[in-house]
Symmetry: C2
């Protein structure tokens, strides 16, 4: 049976990528729209994916000595204004609380768009000596940014995220922390989400409001657009100074500590959809699939099928997240349903299979079918799940290679930007002027200065002056 | 060494219970005050307790078929107003968002005080047939209620909680769900928090805004005040009707489903503090203790002590949450520190112990010391932790029995209310008028009609008419 016949509910990518994306979000029951414009309801299947992301990432944070905390939802206006660049970056897009019950508040409170200011305010209270450092904190919460244009997971007025905030006695140590978390994000993206990422540094123009350096992981989506998937910021002592956070160092001198922050969001779910999905819907890497294997009994009314299916279910429960769908729906309906929901493996079990003491396993990522002895299931299923996880990563990596183009001069860059979808790599002199002009001429934005820079030429594609860096460019989400 | 000598930072309970409570919250590093009045910062040690509460309760929810979701933070004013009783109950204490960035919103949004309205709005979209029921949903999030008087954990303007929301095809099934979750809360309070609770039903007066029935678990604090620690509500089809949620039943008739909701909050941490704490500070039941055993090396500069302490640490890591404090602080300082932080077991290990292949284990709940062979640690430590968990429950149960008084008439009830701290049990005719009058005369509020009602007399303590129920009364937190 050809794939397109199984799942009919999803618009094809080629026809309308944006519609394909929202079809997947809605029909795979990841989200529902809420009565507040720009906000989303994360449904059980979508939230289970988030819980798997959370638990695995949280473990990586804790294994590297980070502790979770919870800061208030509200930031007084005066507190937000303490760091100048930061407030300029965020004030235009915050939601303001002006009333508590029927009373007007003395001071407006903004619903946190990010919590640097709150952490600084707290650090000021609890940090006094070098013995109190470092503070390696993280929180899981929701934040609000009053965006004009919104899309599920990618850009919504409220989203879930984690924000790490750390404080160090030396600039060196804070820089190392910024880099360490950047690496953890890349590791997570590649090994858990099976999503290859470009690791690099943002240009000054694209830096986080108030940061001295911003590191990013950039992923390439199916439609050739770039998705910023996680950022790690080094603040120097700028925030410490603005908030007057000080500590007594080993030489008994009162000095300012150095700070970092880093964050990833539910946007990662959008990244997974647009990296691995296909015209039949969602394709989930096993590491974050709420159901890794779905058992579909065939001719389940026939004697012995359901008991055997239950036996297989019990067997598999100890090696993967497994579901037995013994509902009244037809096998064909179930095939389509779990294909659309991106379940990595389908296990088909009918009377003839049972006679032969075997079953059929079908991979979601490439449709491959294998017949497997029921005695070997506990080893074969984890092997196949591993193969799906690796297969997804390799497929995405190959696609990214195909969709990455080098531009050697302005004409070539304009040509690629107009006619191809994907990353563009080009040399750059390092001047803001050229970055602005390139954006204006091509419609793409700089993604990052990658860690693995190559020397494509000696000249800036824009001004022709000596090149300082290679830049990744792309259409942004 | 007498206990009072170890921990000096905590005001004694008898001197000032309220001060004792905030001392514990601050000095045991559970919270810090935030720059927004009435909000709190939950620090790593406090948040680790919450994570242990969350993970164990979440498992109980999932084991009974519930799924987690995430609803928006904001509720449009018009949506909040759809259920009359509900809006009357909550509107006076919500925070209102009026501006997004620099623009005034067309409609005010309230920051969710609870999410019945959002769930109803969503259920309306996704429930169409009896096949779609039941929906057994829960979410972990923060909510906001603009309280005038606030105290850490007990009553704060923002707090963390879980709110379950379920939808059923029959009233019978919804009622069973309400009772099931009520039992899960009681089970959790008694077996995880080691906190005995009275299970009962709220009077009509004390019911949740919009509910047909509210079940509660009520705990008795050290100071004799009652703490409502978890509630489970049956809504009938009131909300379904107000929000026009319908489904096609098995007979092909369009009908309204029946609903429940149930919640517990970070208040549970306050309950634990005030149930088990003592003049030395926090006392944690092992089930929610971030550190269950702390190893304090004695004379750690002496050869062999630290390596042995590390060996013991490695051994214990597989049987409990253990910390080795090898910092430069003195053993005396460490004893006081972990006593104040409520760590259930302290393990002391010095040169002489090592010579004898043993160590000293000290219980936080009763100060008992035992010398244990290092070879038996992996069985002895879990046994002692179990003994602490049980010991705390039994101590709290005995105190509650001592502090529960029966009133047979109005005079007796006034006398008890004025002169004793604790629960008062009294017969009641069932009339609101008597409930109001009793509150006015005694200053205590009705807590619940307990499931294990006894017949203290045949007459209402207030009006003398035939009694319908026994009521628990108490000073509320």
């Amino acid at each position: 049976m050809a794939k397109e016949k199984l799942v009919k509910a999803i618009t094809s990518m080629d026809e309308d990528f944006a519609k394909w994306y929202t079809d997947v979000c809605i029909k795979a029951e990841l989200i529902d729209y809420a009565s507040v414009k720009g906000c989303m309801i994360i449904r059980p299947y979508g939230y289970a994916i988030w819980e798997l992301i959370q638990s695995q990432m949280d473990k990586m944070f804790k294994d590297t000595g980070h502790e979770n905390v919870y800061m208030p939802l509200f930031i007084p206006e005066s507190l937000l204004q303490k760091e100048k660049d930061h407030v300029e970056g965020f004030a235009p897009e915050v939601a303001w609380v002006t009333h508590g019950g029927s009373e007007e508040l003395e001071e407006r409170l903004c619903v946190r768009p990010t919590s640097e200011t709150l952490f600084c305010d707290h650090f000021k209270n609890i940090v006094h000596s070098y013995r109190d450092l470092p503070k390696l904190y993280n929180q899981w919460c929701s934040v609000v940014r009053w965006e004009k244009t919104t899309r599920p997971f990618l850009r919504s007025r409220e989203f879930l995220w984690q924000e790490g905030h750390t404080l160090h006695s030396t600039a060196e140590e804070a820089k190392l922390e910024t880099e360490r978390m950047h690496k953890i994000y890349a590791d997570f993206a590649e090994n858990v989400l099976a999503m290859p990422v470009v690791m690099g540094k943002k240009t000054d123009k694209e830096r986080f409001a108030g940061a001295e350096a911003t590191y990013t992981i950039e992923a390439l989506m199916h439609d050739g657009k770039a998705l910023q998937s996680g950022t790690s910021h080094y603040f120097g002592d700028g925030f410490s100074k603005a908030f007057d956070v000080t500590f007594m160092d080993k030489e008994n001198k009162l000095v300012h500590p150095f700070q970092t922050s880093w964050g990833t969001t539910t946007r990662l779910i959008g990244a997974v959809i647009m990296t691995h999905g296909d015209d039949s819907g969602l394709v989930l890497p096993p590491a974050i699939a709420p159901i890794q294997t779905v058992i579909v009994p065939i001719a389940s009314h026939k004697e012995g099928v359901l008991p055997k299916a239950n036996e297989v279910y019990t067997k598999l429960k100890s090696v993967c997240r497994v579901k037995l769908d013994d509902s009244e729906q037809s096998p064909g309906w179930k095939f389509a349903e779990y294909e659309m929901k991106g379940v990595p493996l389908r296990l088909e079990l009918g009377p003839r299979d049972i006679e032969n003491n075997c079953c059929v396993l079908v991979r979601r990522d490439n449709g491959e079918k294998v017949t497997v002895s029921l005695d070997e299931l506990e080893t074969k299923v984890p092997e196949l799940l591993k193969a799906v996880q690796d297969g997804l990563y390799n497929k995405a990596l190959a696609r990214r290679a195909e969709m990455t183009y080098d531009a050697h001069d302005m004409d070539e860059m304009i040509d690629i930007a107009n006619n191809k979808a994907g990353f563009i790599r080009a040399m750059w002199c390092g001047d803001r002027e050229c970055e602005d002009k390139l954006k204006e001429m091509t419609g793409v934005t700089s993604r990052c200065i990658p860690f693995d820079e190559e020397n494509l030429s000696d000249k800036c594609v824009c001004c022709g002056k000596p090149a300082k860096h290679m830049l990744y460019w792309g259409k942004a989400y």
